[in-house]
């Protein structure tokens, strides 16, 4: 019984998404009708370029560089944010401090740190990864902090009555109860991480990566390549968000997706 239900639910989520993608491609194709190909190549041209491009070493290097920065920066940010959020949820004083810190950091667009970090560390991975962390630790921290502060008192007291130590409270109640907010935080953080990664590469944090490649294509007025990178950047983000993180969510929050659950 559970399987067909899951399938129909997945389909319900998939079709509006497919429709949205279809609409965008349609607008693009219609616009391409009226413009010369060097200004706006059509969808088939770019898709052909995509099929050919994904085997080119130049493109693969660019992709690899970006993913490497993401895979170092994003999980670090999640870990840092999660830990800070958990601490802040447990200590009122630290929560006030963390909120102020985040408010200050939020008023400075993360990309602003690039020149500062380049002077400090030179071109390369370090400034970009640092910006990813600055940009994406705080949605995680805020989400986890709110969940920890709002923890169900009775759930804590049940564990205390059952004999839980402080450490056991943390592992057996705080952690599982705030898990959904870890996932929400991680989803928002991913958006921030991805945006700041591409932006940092574009404003000169490094001379490689998807952001650098699209900027380069723009400078030499290669519209097909520009569109190719836009499509790829969007596709990778969608894949992470809707496939990887969604899979993770269903795995760790199994109890929420059980049949008959409210």
């Amino acid at each position: 019984m559970a399987v067909p239900k899951m399938k129909s639910q997945t389909w319900k989520k998939v079709w509006p998404y497919a429709a949205a993608v279809g609409t965008l491609l349609l607008i693009w194709q219609v616009a391409a009708f009226f413009l010369p190909p060097y200004l706006l190549p059509g969808v088939p041209t770019v898709l052909e370029r995509l099929a050919a491009g994904i085997t080119e070493p130049e493109f693969l290097t660019s992709l690899k560089e970006s993913l490497f920065r993401l895979i170092i920066g994003y999980p670090s940010a999640c870990l840092l944010g999660g830990l800070l959020g958990l601490l802040a949820g447990l200590s009122r004083g630290f929560a006030v401090y963390l909120r102020s810190l985040i408010a200050i950091l939020q008023s400075i667009p993360p990309i602003t740190w690039i020149p500062f970090l380049i002077i400090l560390f030179g071109f390369g991975n370090v400034p970009i990864i640092t910006v990813i962390i600055i940009a994406s630790f705080f949605p995680m921290a805020l989400s986890v902090m709110n969940a920890t502060e709002g923890i169900n008192r009775t759930h804590l007291e049940v564990a205390k009555v059952l004999g839980a130590t402080k450490g056991q409270l943390l592992r057996k109640v705080y952690l599982p109860e705030t898990l959904p907010s870890f996932i929400t935080g991680a989803q928002v953080a991913f958006g921030n991480a991805w945006r700041s990664l591409i932006a940092s590469e574009m404003v000169g944090g490094a001379s490689s990566g998807l952001g650098f490649s699209i900027k380069f294509a723009g400078e030499v007025a290669q519209m097909t390549d520009v569109l190719l990178y836009i499509v790829i950047i969007g596709m990778i983000a969608a894949f992470f968000d809707h496939v990887v993180l969604e899979w993770l969510k269903r795995r760790v929050l199994k109890w929420r997706y059980i049949e008959g659950a409210k």
Binding site: N152, E157, V161, L162, W255, I258, K262
Partner: protein, 245 residues
Amino acid sequence: MQTLEIQRVHKSFGSLKVLENINLTIEKGKFAAIVGPSGCGKSTLLRMVAGLETPDEGTVQADGKVIKQPSPERMMIFQEHALYPWLTVGENVEMGLELAGVSKEERRKRAQEVLKTVGLDGFYNYYPSQLSGGMRQRVSIARALVMDPDVLLLDEPYGALDAMTRLTMQNELLKLWEGSGKTMLLITHDIDEALYLADQIFVMSARPGKVVQTIDLDLPRPRSRHSQRFGELRQEIMQLLGLEE
């Protein structure tokens, strides 16, 4: 098994005086009930016995020892079943044993046994959200029973259930208690529930809560809710609570 003794207990939250000079003793193995208007401090009192709250003045003791913190000897059952939604029925029941470091096989064996006694055989792998209100409350009773406590503290356990389920659950609770030697302390706003179950009823006044009357029940079990004595006692309590002239 434990005798519970509450002596000269006062408690305030800020400027709100909740409990005033509470004195009561519950002999080991007895079934006691507390009735009183909402907000008179019944839960606060029970939480003190559970070790979740401390009195401002006076002492709360179990077998002559002051209660300072929760102990597996005294299990509390909360008004809202308070099961962990992310754990299965079995895992919920095993929680206390797991915290105490009992081995997995042993845990499983004991959980299965207790689930059988509360009539939830075969629900081991269900999640709480898949159960009815009555079944969830049975799981939370199983979660307490598996620890084999000396004292069971129940805070309006059936308050959220429908009338019919409530009657069934009351009979089940009696069966669990009879012959077990456990000391029971039940809070309820249902006068009939107290009269049907308890050996001893403490009637509390509105805030600040005081014990205005202690009633020792001499009725044999199973009790009839329609007997004359039952009716008289019901009327007495209602008068004490100001619900009837």
